[in-house]
Assembly symmetry: none
Homo-oligomer: 88 residues x 2
Amino acid sequence: MDTGDRLLTPGEVAALFRVDPKTVTRWAAAGRIGSIRTPGGHRRFRESEVRALLEGEGMLDEAEDVGKPRNVGPATSTGPGPANAGMY
Amino acid sequence: MDTGDRLLTPGEVAALFRVDPKTVTRWAAAGRIGSIRTPGGHRRFRESEVRALLEGEGMLDEAEDVGKPRNVGPATSTGPGPANAGMY
DNA sequence: ATGTAGTGGGGTAATTCGGGCT
DNA sequence: TGTGTCCGAATTACCCCACTAC
């Protein structure tokens, strides 16, 4: 099935993350993001991969928040939600 | 999409609020402001969200809405759409 | 084949991160 | 409780030039 394997250039990914194209290249070099190399050596990234990293790092099942617009208390220690694969 | 999804760096947000970048980081850690992390661990903030906080529209009566209005429509309009038409 | 734009690689400065303290 | 500053460390941004992509 086609997961939208649209290939993006480093410049595209950089614009999405608001970073420098060189930084995106560094991510690929560090193995933090999948990269496809062209015969010339340039890198190309998958749209699906970048999208997953952009906001839904945890790919959590986004539930409808229509029944709770009143919660202003951050006391939800049960799980803030997006527990990205942080390792910093 | 067109909500001005321009991402800002902690330094930018800090300059907007006249506070230290560290303080902005605390807000993100407290969940008071949405934050997007780069594979490297750095944070990026949405211009629209920062703007709402600056305007004070985010702390009206109780309309605190820091969540992300995820459009669960049938169409995956979440994407920016036809950004590049056959670039490579 | 030539030209423009983007990309790659290396190196250095600036920013940000994380935790702890005043 | 919330903000600003300290530290060390990692990550990122911008500089150069050479090569690739169209």
